[in-house]
């Protein structure tokens, strides 16, 4: 295979596989947060920002994969 095709394949694989973990993790965070809000609706003001922050942290492995994919593609 030529280099360009390999690069495209590598970038696709990197971001595709790298997105799996954070997707599951964020789903877990969101479901737990919804559960907590459902149990105690008054605490939603406190739960929502914490949920966003933990989601952003969970997302970081996905973002690493994305950075790798972008580096493979554009440099």
């Amino acid at each position: 295979m030529e280099t360009a095709a390999l690069k495209a394949l590598a970038a696709g694989l990197a971001i595709g596989l790298g997105a799996l973990g954070p997707a599951i993790g964020e789903g877990l965070i969101a479901s737990k947060a919804m559960e907590a809000i459902g149990r105690n609706p008054e605490a939603s003001v406190k739960i929502t920002p914490v949920m966003f922050v933990t989601m952003a942290i969970t997302e970081s492995t996905g973002i690493y994969a994305l950075v790798i994919a972008l580096i493979i593609l554009f440099s």
Binding site: V53, A56, I63
Partner: protein, 252 residues
């Protein structure tokens, strides 16, 4: 489909041999803008606050309360707060300036082709890396100040047992990883937002990019908050004396 995407920022002109990139111009512009706003608020302070002063007061007060709730200590909160608030406001402003409509259309032509004068500041890895290095150095300084130089080195080189020695080595790796994880998180999010917006615009330029723009605004705010908060949490952790250490100190 020809997209103009580059990971390095574009060089606009040189001062002697120092390359001035578009992200550097914008970070200087944003710093100037923030300093101007601060000076305006500083010299028009009133007992009965106006609109601008009210916003500034809410921002400073709420973020100070947040810092105090994380550190759990008024004195330490006062020490950490300026760094936290500066990081937060600068990154927030740098991210939100991306959404000024029309700025991406300002171009100049040079040998390298058409270059946009504007570039999202946090989509330049150099800037993000410098911010990260500043916060990581401050984390180490906080650790040294609480544990003392010997205690700080002893945390990493521990010869009490093979397990502790191994854990100490892992701590060294962990400190190194902080630089990468903090900087990649911010850079990746903002750069990915830019690339995503560009790709969507080139695929379908009318309504399709809107939800991604909304996601971008959300990311801009959340990432600024996350970067500042993580720095805050790391400093707090580094400047806390652990319980077994207290026992050790008491026994000495």
């Amino acid at each position: 489909m020809q997209l103009n995407i580059s990971i390095a920022p574009e060089i606009i002109f040189y001062i002697k041999s120092f390359p001035v990139t578009n992200s550097l111009i914008w970070s200087v512009f944003i710093s100037g803008f923030l300093i101007l706003i601060t000076l305006i608020i500083r010299f028009s302070l009133k007992m009965v606050p106006g609109r601008l002063q009210n916003c500034a007061e809410i921002l400073v007060e709420e973020s100070f309360n947040f810092v105090r709730s994380v550190t759990g200590d008024e004195e330490r909160a006062k020490k950490i707060f300026p760094l936290f608030c500066t990081l937060f406001i600068f990154i927030l402003a740098a991210n939100l300036f991306t959404f000024i409509p029309g700025q991406a259309a300002i171009n100049i032509k040079s040998q390298a082709g058409t270059i946009s004068i504007f570039r999202a500041v946090m989509a330049d890895y150099g800037t993000v890396l410098v911010l990260t290095i500043i916060s990581v150095i401050i984390i180490q300084v906080a650790a040294i100040m609480t544990h003392g130089p010997l205690g700080y080195i002893g945390k990493f080189l521990n010869f009490q047992s093979p397990l502790k020695f191994f854990l100490g080595l892992m701590d060294i790796v962990g400190e190194m990883a902080k630089v990468l994880s903090l900087s990649f998180r911010l850079f990746g999010n903002i750069f990915a937002g830019e690339v995503l917006g560009m790709v969507m615009l080139s695929l379908f330029p009318f309504i399709a990019p809107l939800p991604f723009m909304f996601l971008g605004v959300l990311t801009a705010i959340v990432q600024a908050f996350v970067f500042a908060t993580l720095t805050l949490v790391f400093i707090t952790l580094a400047s806390e004396i652990e319980e077994d250490e207290l026992v050790e100190q008491a026994s000495i």
